[in-house]
Symmetry: C2
């Protein structure tokens, strides 16, 4: 991730992965992607939810959202999902880095108009954010569906980068000793469910929430 | 974040913040930003580290990195930092959402060439990633500095959006009852330090790592 990362004497690995399974794994583990668009010649990067079915990523939004109106017209987008796995403390500040997994998808948006595909896409987006919610929560009405734009991006042009392992210090810095070096793991965790204040007290949090 | 979020009957809040303190707080709490560039007319979104000094955000990278060479020439960028704070489980799938804080910075890159500003910028970037490392780890050599490009982006055009609180279900869904609704908090936490395998066993993890 850090552009200063170089191949070095350490036992860390930072490399592009070419396996589809790696791509799916990084995408499927995310809560948000960062969606890049070009608006009036300038880049715009917005966080948003997403879902995946096979080799297609789906996005959704209000039909009134300006950026989705633009993206509905087959515009180029870049969609990036990043997981930070650790802060890499090196013996030199220059070799400080991060352990991470990231997927970068380049594509052109396709407006999804087929009813079945739209519903499948929305299900994938909801299940990405909150597995188990589709079916537990009330499903969309016709009016809600009409108010929702759905976009598809093909995964044909996607890359994955992963860094793992200890710092990649220069030999001299390792030999000099004295300075601590290692990795501080970073994790994303879920806390205890906080019921809606308007929820009746006899409605327990369901297993798909409690066991997440 | 979810483009489907609407103002509604709930007690949640989703709004743009205009206070500089809110902007600083979101930026200062992040480990990575997502940097958007336009390359050959198409958007590119890459995760990268950053640091802030006053109303300037700094980025760094190898002088050989292609995207930084482009960005060195005063090109428009968008730099977005997002924190996911919770998954919002609503009574309807349509009202599912996220609690989050995000900062979106639009600007034009400035290549930093002044030696003092470069060093201050690198310090800010390292301290953002790993507070306390500057001074504990070996500082950059002349050669390392020469190999590092530093870019500045002004915070003049920046916005913050924050969503907090319970789901914003429709009144009918609340009245219908039966379905659980609430928030599952999401947090980023640090694990126990993992010493580099090449570190002597008598070098303890320093306080700035242990107490993070």
């Amino acid at each position: 991730m850090s552009p200063t990362s170089r191949s070095s004497v350490g036992r860390h690995r930072e490399r592009a992965r070419t396996d589809r399974a790696d791509l799916y794994a990084v995408l499927d583990a995310g809560l948000v992607c960062h969606l890049g668009l070009v608006v009036d010649g300038a880049p715009v990067v917005l966080p948003t939810g997403y879902g995946r079915i096979g080799d297609t990523v789906y996005l959704h939004g209000s039909t009134g959202a300006r950026y989705l109106q633009a993206a509905g017209q087959a515009v180029p987008v870049c969609l990036t999902v990043t997981h930070v796995d650790g802060v890499v403390y090196a013996r030199s500040v220059f070799s400080h880095s991060m352990n991470y997994r990231s997927a970068v998808v380049h594509g052109v948006t396709r407006a999804v108009t087929d009813d079945d595909e739209r519903l499948a896409a929305l299900r994938a987006i909801v299940e990405q954010l909150s597995p188990g919610s589709w079916g537990h929560a009330r499903l969309p009405t016709r009016r809600e569906l009409a108010a929702t734009a759905v976009l598809a991006v093909d995964l044909a042009e996607a890359s994955v980068k992963v860094r793992t392992g200890p710092p990649a210090d220069d030999e001299e810095d390792v030999a000099a000793g004295g300075r601590w070096a290692g990795v501080l793991p970073v994790r994303t965790v879920f806390g205890a469910p906080e019921p809606c204040p308007r929820l009746a007290s006899d409605v327990p949090a369901p297993p798909h929430v409690v066991t997440r």
